[in-house]
């Protein structure tokens, strides 16, 4: 597994959502961006949402395992900030692919952090196997999910 022990990642349990209702991808992204920005007032949620959605217009961030990893690189940040959602029912991404788990993160924008940013993406892609994603969808609470993902 790609080692991310050198990365400072903040994923608080109350940033892990269990989504039971019908929701679109864009609404879900907005929700997760909101979670992060609420705890980090220096971040402007509108700007952050814009940055994530802009990135989503590029190459897809949804993987075969039904994990979606929307992200944005943010200036003046020195920690990775994350929020995640586990869907009771899969939602569709822009290309019709199913999303069962969404892991959204902001990473520091400086060039030295780019390698860490890529490492984070590789780590998540490797860790969230289809079986693991499926397992997460059976979790009843955010605490249970946090325990399982153990980031």
């Amino acid at each position: 597994m790609t080692d991310i022990s050198d990365i400072k990642l903040k994923l608080e349990t109350d940033n892990i959502l269990l989504i039971k209702e019908n929701i679109t991808k864009k609404e879900l992204v907005k929700k997760l961006v909101g979670c992060i920005c609420e705890k980090n007032p220096s971040l402007n949620s509108e700007e952050m949402l814009g940055a994530v959605l802009k990135r989503e217009e590029g190459i897809s961030t949804t993987l075969e395992s039904a994990l979606s990893i929307p992200h944005a690189r943010v200036e003046d940040l020195n920690t990775f900030l994350a929020a995640m959602a586990v869907m009771a029912k899969p939602i569709e991404d822009d290309y019709g692919l199913p999303i069962k788990v969404m892991f959204l993160f902001f990473s520091p924008a400086g060039q030295p952090y780019f390698a860490q940013h890529l490492k984070m993406l590789a780590h998540l892609a490797e860790k969230f196997t289809p079986e693991f994603v499926q397992e997460l969808t059976t979790c009843a609470t955010p605490q249970e999910i946090a325990k399982k993902i153990n980031l």
Binding site: R55, G58, S60, E64, S65, Y95, L121, A122, L124, A125
Partner: protein
């Protein structure tokens, strides 16, 4: 909700290995061997034929022609530095236009059609001569009929090399190298032994310089008394009869495409090897033969096997001389047989260059399913050669008389084109220029080149009058072939127009294989680099990879991950499907330009990055080098690739994991990441 597994499973859906004859590269030595097998093999027959044409002065003229070959090779190097797929057709096409190029190709093909048979028959004569020498030595009162033996042997050799060429050049170029290595040893022994023989002689008489011209050697010129009075014309007539010693030199330009990196340096190396060996072997041994064998014996007994005669007239006991004759015959048979091979390779090369412009219909360029060779062209060449062998009835001199029309007129057109191109394509990059130039304004006025043109034009014009058989048969054959080209071009007009508009397309064999492991199993171990390609107009990264390779054991896998419209992910779904023939043609042309082999591979996929990651993992590559996408930024590309890499690593044993570097390369910049 999406449930279609075609859309949600990113494993590559189909693996296709691309094969073509165009991706094997050879060393300078191998290239020199291929050329020498044809070019230097003329040592075995050129002297004898020249002796019959104009008498004992022949060694001077054979030597002169060999020295002139050095100048011609320099012109060839200049042409190759401009055209990777060089040789007569592309050069004349650029310099003098398509009709002249078709005429030049037709003319040189006439000589290639003769070179194979003349070499095969000569080998047969040497073999028959040896058998008869042995029969005589053991006092058996019969002889094998030389002409029949020559025909049978020539047919056998032609059929053998027909099969080898259908199989592919790599096998045959290796054989050429072995033949030349063996011939070098024999040449060295002959030189030393002939030197000792000369030292033991009371007196060494140099051959006369003045040629003895008769009605046959003067041809139609015997009717022009003025021509006979000009002494210099006699020299030209004699040189014209010696030009068959240049047989096979065009192969020098044909093999350039196959030469490995660094191409021009290797071509220069090959030129030096060819020049020195041919000068010593053809020029030197012919001269020694004339110094050692009495002229009347050459004319009566050894005109078809001059070097066997040299072996038999060396100083020493008869049994040793017989062994030497055996060794000479062995070298001769191997080399002349190699010349048959080279004539097929050379003619195939020229026909391919003609076909690439759309002049020939697809039938000619059809690729052999298993071996990836243009087997229809090879079949046609061999069939013509078999016809010449049968028609000659084994008479070497007859073919010798027909020879030289094509080689001289193709030289005239090619060398003239090169001189014209100095002005017409002034700015085209040349890694080498024929020496002796005067720089004027932005032009390099080719004084050396002009001298070569003048020399070949003089020889060609004189030969037109003196070699009747060559003129009649050469013009007839070339005219017929020109007509074939013309008709084929008319039939292929639409295709030719497409080729003109879209560029040449390489014929490719696409073989579906079960899985990636099967597709990768034949790629040698070593440092593997994966170069994904998508857009034929965006192959800068491939050029950069090839330009910067320093390691001999680097293997480059060029991957086209083809999105299948029905289930492709992302923007590729809307993307215009790339024509893989065009894409891989460009890949092959770039590989040829640098003389480095690549392993082309095509996979069908619904996610480009996943496909790249899967191939990288399966092939255990050390580096992935991608071009920048026109639709996304380099960072986005790298992000998707690392995600895909992470995903394909799932379930991998950590012990099996190795580090890999991914780079996105575009002009002057790159982004990289080490996984």
């Amino acid at each position: 909700m999406i449930q279609d597994p075609l859309k949600t499973q990113f494993k590559v859906k189909g693996v296709v290995v691309i094969t073509t004859a165009m991706l094997t590269f050879i060393t300078a030595w191998q290239a020199a061997s291929i050329v020498l097998c044809d070019f230097a093999s003329s040592a075995f027959y050129a002297g004898g034929i020249a002796m019959r044409a104009f008498g004992p002065a022949f060694p001077w003229y054979i030597l002169g022609v060999m020295l002139f070959a050095g100048l011609l090779m320099m012109m060839y190097i200049e042409s190759c530095s401009m055209f990777t797929r060089g040789g007569v057709f592309p050069v004349v096409n650029a310099g003098l236009g398509e009709n002249a190029a078709k005429a030049a190709a037709a003319a040189i093909l006439f000589d290639f059609t003769l070179t194979g048979p003349i070499s095969g028959l000569s080998a047969g004569h040497y073999l028959a001569g040896l058998i008869n020498s042995i029969l005589k030595a053991v006092y058996l009162p019969f002889e094998v009929p030389q002409d029949i033996c020559a025909v049978v042997f020539a047919l056998g050799v032609t059929l053998y090399f027909w099969y080898q060429n259908v199989k592919g050049i790599e096998d045959s170029s290796d054989k050429s190298r072995k033949i030349i290595r063996f011939s070098m040893v024999i040449c060295l022994i002959l030189f030393v032994w002939a030197g000792i023989t000369l030292l033991l002689k009371d007196k060494i008489v140099l051959p006369p310089f003045k040629p003895q011209l008769n009605d046959t050697s003067l041809g139609w010129a015997s009717n022009f008394t003025l021509m006979q009075k000009i002494g210099f014309l006699g020299v030209l007539v004699a040189l014209g009869h010696s030009v068959l010693a240049l047989s096979g030199l065009e192969t020098f330009a044909q093999v350039f495409r196959e030469i490995e990196y660094p191409k021009i340096q290797n071509l220069k190396k090959a030129a030096l090897i060819v020049f020195l060996f041919a000068l010593l072997f053809t020029g030197g041994l012919t001269f020694l033969s004339a110094l050692i064998i009495p002229p009347d014996l050459i004319a009566s007994e050894y005109h078809d096997n001059l070097l066997a005669g040299l072996a038999m007239h060396l100083a020493g006991p008869n049994f040793l001389k017989l062994i030497m004759q055996g060794a000479v015959v062995l070298a001769g048979v191997a080399m002349l047989a190699g010349a048959v091979n080279t004539s097929i390779i050379g003619a195939n090369g020229i026909m391919n260059r003609v076909a690439e412009t759309g002049i020939l219909t697809d039938w000619f360029r059809k690729i052999h399913k298993k071996h990836g060779t243009t087997y229809h062209i090879i079949n046609m060449i061999c069939l013509m050669q078999v016809g010449v062998i049968l028609l000659s009835g084994g008479k070497l001199y007859l073919i010798g008389q027909a020879y030289a029309f094509g080689v001289l007129w193709s030289f005239v057109l090619e060398m003239t084109s090169l001189v014209i191109l100095r002005f017409k394509n002034r700015e085209q990059k040349r890694d080498f220029m024929m020496p002796f130039n005067i720089k004027f304004d932005h032009y390099y006025i080719p004084i050396g080149g002009a001298f070569v043109v003048l020399a070949v034009v003089s020889l060609a014009v004189v030969n037109l009058f003196t070699k009747k058989v060559a003129t009649i048969s050469g013009i007839s054959f070339a005219a017929l072939l020109f007509l074939v080209f013309h008709i084929s071009q008319r039939l292929n007009a639409k295709k030719a127009n497409d080729i003109f508009e879209e560029g040449h397309r390489e014929k490719l064999n696409q073989s579906k294989v079960e899985d990636l492991a099967k597709a990768l199993q034949d790629i040698p171990e070593g440092k593997r680099i994966l170069v994904p390609v998508k857009n034929p107009e965006n192959l800068y990264h491939l050029e950069e990879v090839l330009k910067n390779i320093t390691n001999d054991d680097t293997e480059i896998i060029v991957l086209y991950a083809k999105p299948v419209d029905a289930w492709s992910v992302g923007k590729t779904r809307q993307a215009t499907s790339i024509d893989e023939e065009e894409l891989f043609t460009k890949v092959i042309l770039i590989a040829e330009k640098y003389g480095l082999s690549v392993h082309p591979l095509l996979v069908n996929c619904n996610d480009y990055s996943y496909a790249v990651a899967q191939v990288a993992l399966a092939a255990k590559v050390k580096e992935i080098i991608m071009g920048v996408s026109g639709s996304f930024g380099a960072n986005d590309q790298l992000e998707r690739l690392v995600m895909a890499w992470g995903a394909v690593q799932q379930g991998q044993d950590s012990a099996e994991k190795t580090s890999i570097t991914a780079k996105i390369v575009w002009e002057g910049r790159e982004v990289s990441y080490k996984f």
